[in-house]
């Protein structure tokens, strides 16, 4: 929609005359924001027995003036020491009321340890006010070494703007982890603010963290400094300890290798290693132990190679590629493979399960050209499993591939194996790197291989277990349900693979610092409020991969924009076949993507921006096009009305067809028995052209917003392609959905179909008019 687009085109800079608003003169240098900020600093010191809190408030000149006014009890315009002390006592109590500290959910009572007030000179020698407070709270007695969760929230002066900083400092012997706050300060307790004006002031008002005097649980995030480096040493790693044994004797080495195998197996059993996938795959297919073994081998090799490759990258290319960054990418790839395998298996097996026995007939439409140039949509009413031929065609069956329970294919086994082993275990990587630094490369390699073998063995074991369990289950089940369940089972197991693949991808995106559900939730929440700008601008704040993922999501969503849907509806209303309807959507998406990429390339290569007025005119053009499409759909529907009929006839092959039969204009009704030609309603170029027009109109917004936000031309185009793929897929779905009522009603409910077509035509004309009004013709607004 025009309005939404323009919102992401540009953020109105001076939307409103700033000078109409109350205004303050030039900024004070002393404070990070302005002369009426109240800035706060909190340092949480987590100890074994008590929590200490240092709390500093720094008031800029104006609030300081107000505070000092309030402190001036006798109204003489000066603040005596006793007046200041009295003020401090009041203030300390008041601030304490706004500090919420809970430990394991229970409020932690704090008591004041010390307090101090000063009035350092600020801008123009005017006083500012600085209050320093120290609080302390004794932790409730608990088991030694127990983990505690602390939550801190500061609700003081909520209405004031200012610098808000929270720092966590573990006391000696205490480990802090899973903390939302960082481990180092920026401002030296609000004494020196960063001079970098280009960054936004900190606004940290709450924090959560865990701490313990005992062992840090596995998988915990260490306390980080603001640059993202760990503020404390990471936790220990069992596998890595194997490489660091003081001396490698044959006995020790053997023991270490055995332990590595065991650790590998354990690692395989930790979540996310495709055990389920392997099992589900083998259950659904006619897997044999041979396949399971092959799978294990693939996993071992892939994992070993993966560790080696990543090790090399870490050693030699660490300045170009950050290895930690690769993990989510590899996860995503592996998840993508699983997802793909799952989807294709599911599609195949579902057809198989539904097709041959469950129904006597598998409804199945397709269009083809006969040798005599007689092309049409037709529908087989006979048994599709019967081999047959059309005149001029070759002999074929309509039995879907794999319906007879196709055996395991080596190719998909290989893909599965790769996906299972692709993600190197971080500890294996650590082993390799330690081995190199300890000059025990050979031993390190052996350990890694042993680890991989353990991993693969566990996976193969799981696969075999599934296999035998499946066989045990199949026989009685087959007897009980006449084989029906057995046929559905492969489809279900494929579905499990799909789900696992989706889950791995989801996790990977999460690791990339991008929580798809939450982010999308936020984006859609914003879009619900009418601002895609918020969402698309968030692009800049996520990583590359997440950004591409987001591109796909935006593309999907983009297909559902009103003007797109309306245009495609108008075209789809002329189709009477679901396949064609979805093809319309696909073609639209292809056109849309093509023009986006072309324009994107031009914009990037020539470093030009599309002027707003051009974009506005393009939008107007889209509006006119929608009117045209609506008009065309409407006229076609009206012309056809009297000529719609259904008839049944046979071709030489002996197959009965039911046709819905439309004649253009004055076409005569011919005898169904006679050889005849059907006018083909070709999908043609229309959707492609319409998609290109939409793409062109939308490209201004996208290129400006997206391409300026990505680092390179290639990445920008990649983003656009992903976006385009998303929009193709989205529109494919959308047009199928839209086409559904048309397709369903076209065969038997011609009256309804007619009504639907008329409605679609009228609606799209109406929308086009409204849209044109909004984009171009909106009456000029005269101010006088």
């Amino acid at each position: 929609m025009k309005y939404l687009r323009s919102a992401c085109k540009r953020t109105p800079a001076a939307l409103l005359s700033a000078s109409l608003v109350v205004c303050f003169a030039a900024a004070a240098a002393a404070h990070p924001l302005g002369n009426f900020t109240v800035n706060r600093f909190a340092r949480i010191e987590a100890g074994g027995e008590r929590v200490r809190l240092r709390y500093v408030v720094d008031m800029a000149e104006i609030p300081a003036f107000q505070a000092l006014q309030a402190a001036d009890a006798d109204g003489d315009g000066k603040q005596s020491t006793s007046e200041l002390e009295a003020y401090l006592t009041r203030a300390a109590a008041q601030y304490l009321g706004g500090i919420r500290v809970t430990v394991d959910g229970a409020p932690l009572p704090l008591r004041e340890v010390s307090k101090k007030i000063t009035t350092p000179a600020g801008n123009g020698g005017l006083p500012t006010l600085r209050v320093e407070l120290d609080y302390e709270g004794a932790l409730p007695a608990g088991a030694a070494g127990a983990a505690r969760r602390l939550r801190f929230e500061d609700v003081n002066n909520r209405e004031r703007t200012g610098w808000h900083e929270i720092v966590v400092a573990p006391a000696a012997g205490v480990n802090v982890y899973d903390s939302t706050a960082f481990g180092n300060a920026v401002t030296d307790e609000l004494r020196a603010y960063p001079e970098d004006l280009l960054s936004a002031p900190l606004d940290e008002r709450a924090a959560e963290l865990s701490f313990t005097t005992g062992v840090v649980p596995e998988g915990a995030k260490p306390l980080l400094a603001r640059d993202g480096r760990p503020a404390a040493r990471p936790s220990r790693d069992r596998l890595a300890e194997l490489i660091a044994v003081p001396e490698v004797t044959p006995g020790v080495a053997l023991l270490a290798l055995l332990m590595a195998v065991g650790l590998g197996a354990l690692h395989a059993l930790s979540p996310g290693h495709g055990k389920t996938v392997v099992g589900a795959y083998l259950v659904g297919s006619r897997g044999t132990p041979k396949h399971a073994a092959f799978l294990g081998l693939t996993v071992t090799i892939t994992h070993t190679l993966g560790v080696f490759a990543l090790g090399l990258v870490t050693l030699f290319a660490a300045q170009y590629v950050v290895p930690e960054r690769l993990f989510p990418v590899l996860s995503l790839v592996s998840g993508g493979i699983v997802l793909f395998i799952g989807l294709s298996l599911f599609a195949r097996r579902l057809r198989a399960a539904l097709s041959p026995v469950a129904h006597a007939h598998h409804g199945h439409s397709h269009s083809h050209d006969h040798g005599d140039g007689h092309g049409h949509d037709h529908h087989h009413d006979g048994d599709p499993t019967v081999p047959h031929s059309h005149d001029g065609g070759s002999v074929h069956t309509h039995l879907p591939p794999g319906a007879d329970g196709a055996p395991v294919t080596w190719r998909s086994l290989l893909a599965l194996g790769i996906s299972g082993g692709l993600l190197p275990c971080p500890s294996a990587l650590v082993v390799l790197l330690s081995a190199i630094s300890l000059h025990r490369v050979g031993f390190g390699l052996l350990l890694v291989v042993a680890f991989s073998v353990g991993l693969a063995a566990a996976l193969t074991g799981v696969g075999l277990a599934f296999l035998y369990a499946g066989r045990l289950f199949k026989r009685p089940a087959a007897r009980l349900t006449s084989g029906r369940l057995v046929r559905v089972l492969p489809a279900l197991s494929a579905l499990v693979i799909v789900c696992v693949g989706a889950a791995i991808c989801y996790e990977a995106l999460g690791q990339a610092g991008f929580h798809p559900a939450a982010l999308l939730g936020r984006i859609f929440a914003h879009e619900g409020a009418g601002t895609p700008a918020g969402g698309e601008q968030a692009l800049a704040s996520v990583g590359t991969w997440a950004m591409l993922g987001l591109g796909l999501a935006f593309g999907l969503k983009h297909a559902t924009e009103v003007d797109h849907v309306v245009a495609v509806t108008a075209i789809v209303s002329e189709q009477r076949n679901l396949l064609r309807a979805s093809l319309v959507g696909g073609l639209w998406g292809a056109g849309h993507t093509a023009s986006l990429i072309v324009v994107g390339f031009v914009v990037l290569a020539l470093r030009v921006a599309i002027p707003t007025w051009v974009a506005d005119w393009l939008e107007f053009g889209v509006a006119l096009m929608i009117i045209g499409l609506g008009a065309s759909a409407l006229t076609r529907a009206l012309r056809r009305r009297s000529d719609v009929h259904v008839h049944r006839h046979e071709h030489g092959g002996g197959e009965a067809h039911v046709h819905i039969h439309f004649h253009e204009g004055d076409a005569e009704h011919h005898d169904a028995a006679r050889p005849h030609e059907h006018p083909v309603t070709r999908i043609g170029f229309k959707p492609l052209v319409v998609g290109m027009a939409h793409g062109l109109a939308g490209s201004a917004a996208l290129t400006l917003l997206v391409l300026t936000q990505v680092e390179s031309v290639a990445l920008g185009l990649l983003y656009l392609s992903v976006f385009g793929a998303g929009s193709i897929f989205g529109m494919l779905l959308m047009s199928s959905l839209v086409g559904l009522p048309f397709a369903l009603s076209s065969r038997e409910l011609t009256g309804i179909n007619y009504g639907l077509q008329i409605t679609a035509g009228i609606l799209s004309i109406a929308f086009g008019l409204w849209y044109a009004y909004g984009t171009g013709v909106a009456a000029p607004f005269k101010i006088v």
Partner: protein
Amino acid sequence: MPKKFLVNIGTIAAALALGFGLYALYTKFTVKPDPLFQAASAPGRPETPADRQIRAAQGVIERLPEAAAGYNLLAIAFMQKARETGDFGVNARAEAAIKRSLELAPGNQEATRLQANLLLTYHRFGEALEVARRAVGQQPRDYEAYGALTDALVELGRYDEARKSVQVMLDLRPYTASYARASYLRSLYGNTEGAIEAMRLAAQSANPGNPENVAWCYVHLGDELLNAGRRDEAEKEYDRALFAFPDYHVALAAKARSRVAAGDLEGAVGFYTRSLERVPSPEVAAEFGNLLTKLGRADEAKRQYDLVEFIEREGAAGADTYSRSLALFWADRGTKLDEALAIARRERAKRADIYTNDVLAWCLFKKGQLEEARAEIEQALRLGTKDPRIHYHAGMIYHALGDRQNAARYLKLALETNAAFDVLQSEVARRTLAAVSA
């Protein structure tokens, strides 16, 4: 046929439902919330549009450190932040961003326009006009540049040119910013109904994703309604503004004014206090001081008056520019008249807008320089603006000049527009009107 089709659809739907169910279970038991993600979103206040814009702009800068575009986005974001918080200190950050953008791409049009906007917030209108003209020259179809140009012209009192400029802006793009400016100009020309209409359009077309802008429009719509004597409707708009952008300091002050107009003085105290807690604005503090005086709370009133002077002094530290509103404040209270007059004259030397004319006339009147005051107030009245304060000042000046007819006319106009335009001065207006009419 449809039956089989429906069976297929049903099967797929069931399969998907099953998948989602399994997946939900999977996430429930395995996916732990990422604390770092929470850190970005959960604690404290929700992010405002300006915060999001700042993050986005910084993301661009991180990826394209040598491109001006990112810094321009950052400047826009900081200026929006300044509007949201009322803290114009943030504009120093916008200035730094614009400076960097201009270093990277000297003379780039967007940064030039942003600089014009920035100069406007610094009240350097002459320079702003020059820069805005340059931005328009570089890109004659950039409607936003016309926005800056219009503002500069309005502030300098060059209304005819401003009117042309805003018309160009409207023709290029009728949207919130152009409607809002059209409304302001209509209001200046005394077309209150037209101003209401335009501001309504502005409010309707405002991006709901930017609640501060929406609320700003509502407040100004309310102000126009108040000027049309439609206090109840005005207050509804203020409430709407506070709903759209809670605790918006501009809306809180407006709400306080409408409470005063409704005679609910105690209620007004609450809203003034809340507004000043968020943003200590000298104008609002002065109004609040007047209200407290009226309520007989002299001590508290004095604190507000002291605050006004302090803010002005603090704001002027380093530069010797006191604002026009301080001159008005002093003139209203009859204190420091010489300094007030000096400020007004200095301001008048820089610009000839009706509000500067008005303040100078009022200072001159207070100093007893009536002939000059008449010349200035006639200038302030030249557009026919229905501003009760200008009308009040005019009435008082004509009264002092012995022109009873004009005195009565303007005092009546002021009180008809808003009988409570100022808690203290409106009483003076009423007394004087009674004396003139008697």
